[in-house]
């Protein structure tokens, strides 16, 4: 089905996807996605496991090359840019990985300083000041000399955010910011994302399957299922959506409950019943 195109967008698009397709080998993971991320907004990409949301994020930061379609970031199409151009774009974006992906052999301070030491000609004292500033912004002042292994899960995520922000990026990407954290710590990370948005007017793209977190931080949401966009819109539009797949996701209905008896039998007897798109046409709630 066609994703709803948001006609109210009058602002500048920071990222714009046109019919994006990504393959892993023979298998197509994303089947032609098109949407835009507007400057200053927080866009949450929602989806279940295996929906293709992580692949989408990897494509947005240039870790996966599209098999066809276009990804426009800062006026450059990531599908065709050279390595040098890609690196220039990457210096303007920050990415916070699911597990933090901090370098275990370096201290927290060295982790945050790394992009500055690699890409700028700043003097060492200046870098130290920036590192302290960034760590303070994520609530980790004074932890410069700690190794990542000495930090808790939530602190590691914050440190990863500080590293992602080291170069003052225009776009910040988060992969599953609350994964593996207890609800209180996860709420703290959500709070941090809201603060960043408020303080720096950053464009933020978050991939998650946590509904509570998504509804807290999002300006707009995209729901992805099996490599297709199911719905795109504001929080309110999502809440009031009657689309069965959206309802199923938001109301947390297990897959088997949506199936009618005959289909359930078919699912047990057939090889790949879930590939049929009839599933999405059926009412869930």
């Amino acid at each position: 089905m066609e994703p709803r195109v948001d006609s109210s967008l009058q602002h500048e698009a920071m990222i714009s996807l046109r019919n994006l397709r990504v393959n892993y080998g023979e298998r197509e993971i994303l089947h032609g996605l098109s949407f835009e991320v507007v400057r200053g907004e927080t866009l949450v990409i929602l989806g279940g496991s295996g929906s293709g949301k992580s692949t989408l994020l990897r494509a947005l930061v240039g870790l996966e090359r599209p098999s066809s379609g276009e990804i426009w970031v800062k006026g450059k199409n990531l599908a065709v840019v050279s390595d040098a151009e890609m690196n220039e774009i990457r210096k303007r974006i920050g990415m916070s990985f699911q597990g933090g992906a901090l370098f275990g052999s370096m201290t927290v301070g060295e982790n945050v300083a790394l992009p500055l030491r690699e890409h700028t000609k700043l003097e060492e004292p200046t870098i130290e000041i920036i590192v302290r500033l960034k760590l303070d912004q994520v609530g980790l002042a004074g932890f410069e000399t700690y190794l990542p292994s000495q930090l808790s899960g939530g602190m590691r995520k914050r440190a990863a955010v500080a590293r992602a922000m080291a170069m003052d990026p225009e776009i910040l990407f988060f992969d599953e910011p609350s994964a593996g954290l207890d609800p209180i710590i996860a709420a703290g990370v959500d709070e941090l994302i809201l603060e960043l948005k408020k303080a720096f007017h950053m464009t933020i793209v978050v991939v998650t399957h946590e509904l509570a977190s998504a509804f807290l931080i999002a300006d707009r949401m995209v729901l992805i299922d099996k490599g297709n966009i199911v719905a795109i819109g504001s929080k309110e539009e999502m809440r009031s959506s009657t689309h069965p797949r959206v309802r199923q996701f938001l109301d947390r209905i297990a897959e088997s409950e949506v199936l009618e008896e005959a289909d359930y039998l078919q699912m047990l007897t057939e090889d790949h019943p879930r590939k049929r798109n009839s599933m999405t046409k059926r009412g869930g709630a």
């Binding site: 990897r58 930061v61 240039g62 870790l63 890609m86 690196n87 220039e88 990457r90 210096k91 974006i93 920050g94 990415m95 990985f97 699911q98 597990g99 992906a101 901090l102 370098f103 275990g104 790394l114 992009p115 690699e118 890409h119 590293r163």
Partner: protein
């Protein structure tokens, strides 16, 4: 037909593997030797720390092993030489076989066990924990950041370790020479030096440089090709060791044959 197809398949797979090793090595060589002249400073500190880890810390175990190998060589050659009353040639036998063959080879095998496996495990773990992806999103080339310092360390340290291994092997031979073959230590040392031509030492060292490149390439390549999941790290590490040993022996054969035919021995 099936068999032919299988053989053909393995040959192309093998060639493709060698190709990816060559491409990784050439990129590492670019970042080590060319990029520093284009304003990208060499990661000297990392290279030194790698050299410490792969080279200096290997000295105790390498010394012990090559000392024993030297002793074994002396015992084995004495067994045969004794029959001809030529036991004094033990010094020559040990010196020549250590410098030409066993010094470089044993060094390479010790380094594979200590460092080749460590390269694969370290880079593989970084792949699994998305640290490699993090490097790329920070516009830092993983080959530049991780692989090039390891290459430099290997290319410099392997010949150094080999020289050390040669000396320890000769020392092991001397233990036999002094206790069982009536040598004074200084005479044994002289006999060893007299037996050696510069060519013997140089060919061994040339081989050791190529061994170093091979070990770094295989270890790093296996690490970088790690898929998802921790069990994959273990598999890649094992593979790095097995493939490195095989390729080092293969390289050894090729170079020994090359030296034999172009240098007349």
């Amino acid at each position: 037909m099936e068999l032919t197809a299988q053989i053909g398949g393995s040959v192309t797979d093998g060639l493709a593997y060698l190709g990816s090793l060559a491409s990784l090595s050439s990129r590492a060589a670019y970042f080590t030797f060319v990029a520093p002249f284009r304003g990208k400073p060499l990661r000297f500190r990392q290279a030194v720390s790698q050299a410490m880890q792969a080279g200096v810390r290997a000295l105790p175990i390498l010394s012990l092993i090559t000392f024993f190998i030297g002793l074994i060589l002396a015992l084995q050659s004495a067994y045969e030489l004794r029959k001809f009353g030529a036991i004094t040639f033990v010094a020559n036998a040990v010196a020549i076989s250590m410098t030409r063959e066993l010094g470089p080879l044993i060094t390479a095998i010790v380094v594979i066990g200590r460092s080749g496996s460590a390269f694969a495990a370290e880079i593989g773990t970084m792949r699994v924990t998305e640290e490699i992806d993090a490097l790329e999103t920070m516009a830092i080339h993983p080959v530049d950041f991780l692989v090039a310092p390891k290459f430099l360390a290997m290319v410099v340290m392997l010949p150094c370790l080999t020289i050390w291994a040669n000396s320890m092997g000769i020392l092991g031979g001397a233990l036999f020479g002094v206790t069982r073959a009536g040598f004074f230590f200084s005479r044994y040392a002289h006999a060893s030096l007299d037996a050696l031509f510069l060519r013997d030492i140089v060919t061994g060292l040339i081989k050791s440089v190529v061994f170093g490149i091979t070990i770094a390439a295989v270890g790093c390549h296996e690490g970088l090709s790690t898929g998802t999941g921790p069990e994959e790290v273990g598999r890649r590490t094992t593979r790095a060791v097995v493939v490195s040993i095989f390729l080092v022996i293969l390289v050894d054969l090729v170079f020994t044959a090359l030296f034999f035919f172009i240098g007349g021995g």
